[in-house]
Symmetry: C2
Subunit: 341 residues, 2 copies
């Protein structure tokens, strides 16, 4: 029997997850929840640009859960704990497991201790499991780092960076990363909270610290404009020399005054123009030192869709509770259902 | 309360694990089992070259278990399932969890199906967990590959290699890899089973296949001499041009006629002399492709000692059964006990 999966949110990520669920032998897509009027009450397959599926896009979440009786709901609607809380509560009260790509949910205990307690209690009360995951936070700058420390006798310090190319993304991402602004506009955008950079440093640093037993006293974040020397153009962005090509966002975790974890995530369009090689890089200083690189970087969209799909069986099979990636078995690519492809 | 750890075997690996257990906050070294008369009945700390520990080196396994009451025994004595079976059975019958670095135990189900069934039954009967782990098999060419597939929507084919330098190792390793032989001696050594190459390809390929749902019909192994062009010398080996610097061992897993998993492990002394860069390399072909490298390679000795130590809490906390690395939470470097260092 395949696990029954309900997808909440049919944006780029939610649609991608729904399509990926369709191709997996162990999974069965039973419906979706969406608020976009152009998608509501239509056949889910058609909304995804595929053939008719006999499954529906619902506008009323509780009705969707009651009618489709899912084993798990995948929430792909928001980034923050407070935004996804009511959705998780609804699923929990209907005894349905939850996986979400909300970045803060990857490790909510430090940023949202009260909400985490509520969620932990709900999970135990209703016998369900709750996991936040995605490519980052959830994999590259936390899970993979933790895994590499497992091959170390001791670790002193961790430095890692994820250098990616924002070119494939649309206008919203460009705006939240400040692409195409002047340095002055970038500064004002940061102050107003319109330019946010990456969401997840607090979570990744806390997850690593907890896994290796470092008491992280303080997390510092800096967001700096990446000033372009060259002209860079994509379908939706145009950056002239002297303007901002993206946001260099850094998170640093300290034990006392000692820098223990440094995560660097410069996100910009077309870094190759200025000779910058994209990739995921992990340096662990300890015994032994470990220097890992993935070139080019694991693409963010596909990676997040893959992890959200591939972790479904692990969440369903886990003991009840609010979980994080460092507590569950290693993710693995689920088998395709040859018949369905 | 720290977990009580008994180490069985005080060779290079067992001694290293014992020392590493001593420094870890969550772990307590309660004794060791060894058959070398020069070590028996002495203080374990002194045998390890450290200060007195008040813990003993036993020659009688059952007495050691009964007197030290361990939560787990770490078996670091042999490579093959059949060799460690009686030791595991003894631990099981005394309700003690087992972790072993015997390579075949990393995934024994395919190479030793009957013994695996016996071990699985014993584990369930006595409520204990059994795990085989180490740097390879156990981590680089299986666990890490599986983890990377978790970020993929689909995977078509896997190729990975571990290129290492045998220079730090002693005479036994040189002999089992054929270092310093002539090509003719290498060929005869292979035929006689004196040159064995790497132990673990069967296990790694079966573990990966099982994790990603590939039915591996056939595993082929090849062992070829690495003929040196240059003169290479270590403390225990001397290779002249035209002689053998090591063994290029390859394992290939097929689904039908299709090559799905190719693992390459050339082990030689001083590869840098001929411009070969050591490292661990993983290439996953799918959606997306992932190209990972770790340079230099994770050192085998330290990595195995680290994994054997760091997985102890996961084995003790797991549900009873015969386990493998793809079923347990990600390894993480255990905290040092500052007082003890």
């Amino acid at each position: 029997m395949a696990y029954r999966v309900l997808v909440w949110g049919l944006g780029a990520m939610g649609s991608g997850i729904a399509k990926n669920v369709l191709r997996k032998k162990e999974l069965q897509l039973v419906g979706a929840i969406e608020r976009d009027p152009s998608k509501i009450d239509r056949d889910l397959g058609e909304v995804l640009g595929l053939e008719r599926s006999g499954r529906r896009v619902y506008s009323e979440p509780e009705k969707a859960i009651l009618e489709t009786r899912p084993d798990i709901v995948i929430i792909a609607t928001n980034s923050f704990v407070n935004e996804v809380m009511p959705k998780i509560e609804l699923a929990a009260k209907n005894n349905v497991n939850v996986l979400t790509i909300a970045e803060e949910m990857a490790y909510p205990y430090e940023s949202n201790p009260e909400e985490s307690k509520i969620l932990e209690n709900l999970a135990c009360k209703y016998g369900i499991s709750i996991l936040g995951t995605g490519i980052n936070p959830g994999f590259v700058l936390d899970f993979l780092i933790i895994a590499m420390t497992g091959a170390c006798l001791k670790i002193d310090r961790i430095k890692a960076s994820r250098i990616n190319d924002l070119s494939p993304f649309g206008k919203t991402v460009m705006e939240t990363q400040g692409v195409g602004t002047t340095p002055e506009e970038f500064k004002r955008g940061l102050e107003k909270g319109e330019i946010v950079g990456h969401i997840g440093f607090q979570q990744s640093i806390a997850m690593i610290g907890n896994a290796v037993g470092w008491r992280i006293d303080r997390i510092e974040e800096t967001r700096e404009p990446i000033i372009s020397i060259t002209e860079r153009k994509t379908a939706v962005a145009h950056v002239k020399p002297g303007m901002v090509a993206g946001c260099r966002h850094t998170g640093r975790g300290f034990c006392g005054d000692e820098l223990k974890i440094e995560l660097i995530h410069p996100q910009q369009i077309l870094p190759a123009i200025e000779g910058i090689e994209t990739g995921d890089y992990i340096d662990i200083y300890g015994e032994p030192d470990i220097h890992l690189s993935i070139k080019p970087e694991i693409p963010g969209g596909k990676g997040t869709i893959a992890l959200a799909t591939n972790m479904i069986p692990e969440v369903i099979n886990a003991a009840p509770g609010l979980l994080n990636m460092s507590e569950l078995p290693v993710p693995k690519c689920l088998m395709d259902d040859i018949k369905e492809i």
